[in-house]
């Protein structure tokens, strides 16, 4: 087996919660990412799903070092990103680019498309100065934006077009790995389809490696070869997309898959729903043992005390559940 492009080991990102204005004191810790191990191979699209607050965005932000991981390692192209700082980090970052959810907030409103796309090119000396214009045009072609838009400002574009600009900006540095954090959640269905197609084309044509984060399982299903499911800061299941979808092994994945509304009245009528009780608990105060046990239909006494490790569950799949062998 080849070495993965990105290899995350036991990554933890904790945030202290402070109270008090003059003399802030710690009143707790939010364990946003709490011991995640994942790897992404070159050319692969890994989908990361989970509900809001499960830590999927923090994981992505920790990888590009927008937040500081507390513990663990992130090996990327032979270097541990978790230990880098200053100049080394700046040199590593062009290889990792992020696309954010809200294209209204992630683009500078006072910069034209040209400014936005030219800046990374100049900062990192990707192309000689006299070729910048040509390169910007090439990027715009790549994401399907007409050249005449080059002098326009973000407010003159629709949401879908803005997301195209954000994608072009991410591609400008010719990254090895793209981290797309809910890239289509803010878009309407018809525009969402355009952006998903664009991302898929780029992955196919350029052999991009991507970590695609979404709360929408159908989006991930459409794009990813492998899927990782997160719950309260931990990965509970990871494996090939087909298997995770059609034969989920973790009780949480089962519930998640069965909660996705299907656009087919016949299927909807005949399906068995696993309805979960309650809401996900607060990550500041996570339950002991398996984080899912208070909502799990199969939980037993051991689940409350023992933390289940992520173990092989057959067919290149890993699951973190103590009762894996006994589940139906």
């Amino acid at each position: 087996m080849t070495t993965p492009l990105l290899d995350i080991r036991d990554l933890k990102t904790h945030f202290p919660v402070k109270r008090g204005l003059l003399f802030p004191r710690n009143i707790g810790t939010v364990k946003a990412v709490d011991g995640v191990s994942l790897s992404i191979h070159e050319g692969e699209v890994l989908g990361l799903v989970g509900e809001s607050g499960c830590g999927k965005s923090t994981l992505a932000r920790s990888i590009v070092r927008l937040v500081h991981p507390t513990e663990g390692s992130i090996h990327f192209m032979g270097r541990n990103l978790a230990g880098l700082s200053g100049e080394d980090l700046r040199k590593a970052r062009p290889q990792l680019q992020m696309i954010f959810q809200d294209p209204y907030a992630s683009l500078n409103p006072r910069r034209t498309v040209f400014d936005t796309l030219a800046e990374p090119l100049l900062t990192h000396n990707i192309v000689p100065k006299n070729e910048v214009t040509a390169e910007v045009n090439r990027l715009m072609d790549q994401v399907g934006l007409a050249h005449r838009f080059v002098r326009k400002y973000p407010h003159e574009f629709s949401g879908g077009q803005r997301q195209r600009i954000a994608i072009a900006r991410a591609l400008a540095l010719r990254p090895k790995l793209i981290l797309a954090d809910e890239p289509v959640s803010a878009l309407d269905v018809s525009v969402q389809a355009q952006i998903l197609n664009l991302l898929k084309e780029l992955c196919n044509d350029m052999g991009l490696t991507m970590l695609l984060i979404s709360h929408d399982l159908s989006v991930v299903r459409h794009m990813a070869q492998r899927i990782a499911v997160m719950y309260l800061g931990r990965v509970v299941e990871v494996g090939p997309a087909d298997q995770v979808f059609h034969h989920p092994s973790h009780p949480y994945t089962c519930a998640l898959v069965s909660a996705v509304p299907l656009a087919d009245p016949d299927l909807e009528e005949n399906r068995a729903r696993v309805l979960l009780q309650g809401d996900p608990p607060s990550p500041m105060n996570p339950p002991g043992g398996c984080p899912f046990h208070p909502r799990c239909n199969y939980a037993e006494a051991a689940c409350a005390t023992e933390r289940p490790p992520l173990v092989d569950s057959g067919g290149q799949r890993q699951t973190a559940c103590l009762r894996l062998d006994e589940l139906p």
Binding site: E51, A193, H215, D264, L276
Partner: protein
């Protein structure tokens, strides 16, 4: 007689950039106890239509330019404000997409739930309190009594939406209008809330109007579906017919653009272009510029909802010769 009868309702916004025809001649009827889904993308007018029905459009800039909404012998469009107040929040209730902004952050949950009872039914505080506890329990909130004295920020998103539902249903309305009730929620919570709406609907026998952009939600909830585009209905049919035998190219396009969890095709269908600018007059079919099947007549002549079979209508010039 239908419970609610909307006839040729038009709601325009008079803005600096011209008159925006947000709802441009919409008719439909709702029977007691049924669930109707209103589907469309943002800006299609699906919310404005229902706000207009209940007199919730700020005027100006909005204005109801014509049409009527008949409910129990009364035209809600013409009705004086006082009469409308007796209907809104009592006989027709509404829940909104974002339960955080729909709840008053300064008011305790209990007072907010009791408010409709106190205003509409003149119930005394003690009775209202008992009913509020019952209402919270009916939507699956534990420790209801303790919860009454809490504020909205102490509740999670799913719990807030439960509170909204409890509040909307406390007066036992005949119609519940749910405007994207689960869009802000996670899928597992969404499944809980939809299940709850279904269950309360069975208990109370009310009709539900479900406004959504998610065809998946519609498939599991609705008896009938109305598809809206650029301020008009383009197709209306039973849920099964919409999913298995839709006749309007826009409906088809919407379905093909959705990534499905069942099968994965390489590329999704995309609708070229953008929704029309509603401040400009549209001579023909509003969807024609983006439609793969448009002919000359589509660009020139306006469409109207034509009957295909009982309960199935679509607004398309090419109904006869198009196989979708």
């Amino acid at each position: 007689m239908a419970l609610l009868e909307v006839d040729n309702l038009k709601t325009y916004f008079h803005t600096r950039n011209g008159i925006v025809r947000a709802v441009d001649g919409v008719s439909y009827s709702l029977e007691a106890g049924e669930t109707v889904g209103i589907v469309g993308e943002s800006g299609s007018g699906k919310s404005v239509l229902h706000y207009a029905m209940l007199g919730l459009i700020p005027q100006p800039p909005g204005r109801i330019e014509g049409g009527s909404v008949h409910f129990d012998g009364m035209d809600l469009v013409q009705a004086p404000a006082k009469a409308l107040r007796g209907v809104r929040g009592k006989r027709i209730s509404m829940i909104f997409q974002d339960p955080m902004t729909a709840l008053n952050p300064y008011m305790k949950i209990g007072s907010q739930i009791m408010e409709p009872l106190r205003i509409h039914e003149g119930v005394d505080k003690k009775t209202a309190r008992t009913q509020a506890i019952d209402a919270l329990e009916a939507v699956g909130i534990q420790d209801a009594e303790k919860r009454l004295s809490m504020y909205p920020h102490e509740f999670s998103g799913g719990m807030r939406q439960r509170v909204m539902i409890a509040m909307a249903l406390i007066t036992r309305p005949e119609i519940l209008i749910a405007d994207e009730p689960t869009t802000a929620l996670d899928v597992t919570v969404q499944a809980q809330i939809l299940e709850l709406i279904k269950q309360r609907q069975q208990d109370l026998g009310m009709a539900v109007i479900l406004i959504t952009h998610d065809l998946g939600v519609v498939a599991g909830m609705c008896d009938r579906v109305l598809v809206m585009y650029a301020g008009r209905f383009v197709e209306a049919a039973s849920t099964r017919t919409i999913f298995n035998n839709c006749k309007h190219p826009y409906t088809r396009a919407l379905m093909d653009a959705m990534p499905a969890t069942q099968q994965t095709s390489e590329m999704l269908y995309t609708i070229p272009g953008m929704p029309p600018d509603l401040s400009q007059p549209i001579p023909g079919c509003a969807f024609a510029p983006r439609c793969a099947h448009a002919t000359d007549v589509c660009h020139e002549k306006p469409t109207q909802l034509d009957r295909i079979s009982d309960g199935h209508h679509a607004a398309c010039h090419r109904l006869g010769d198009l196989a979708l």
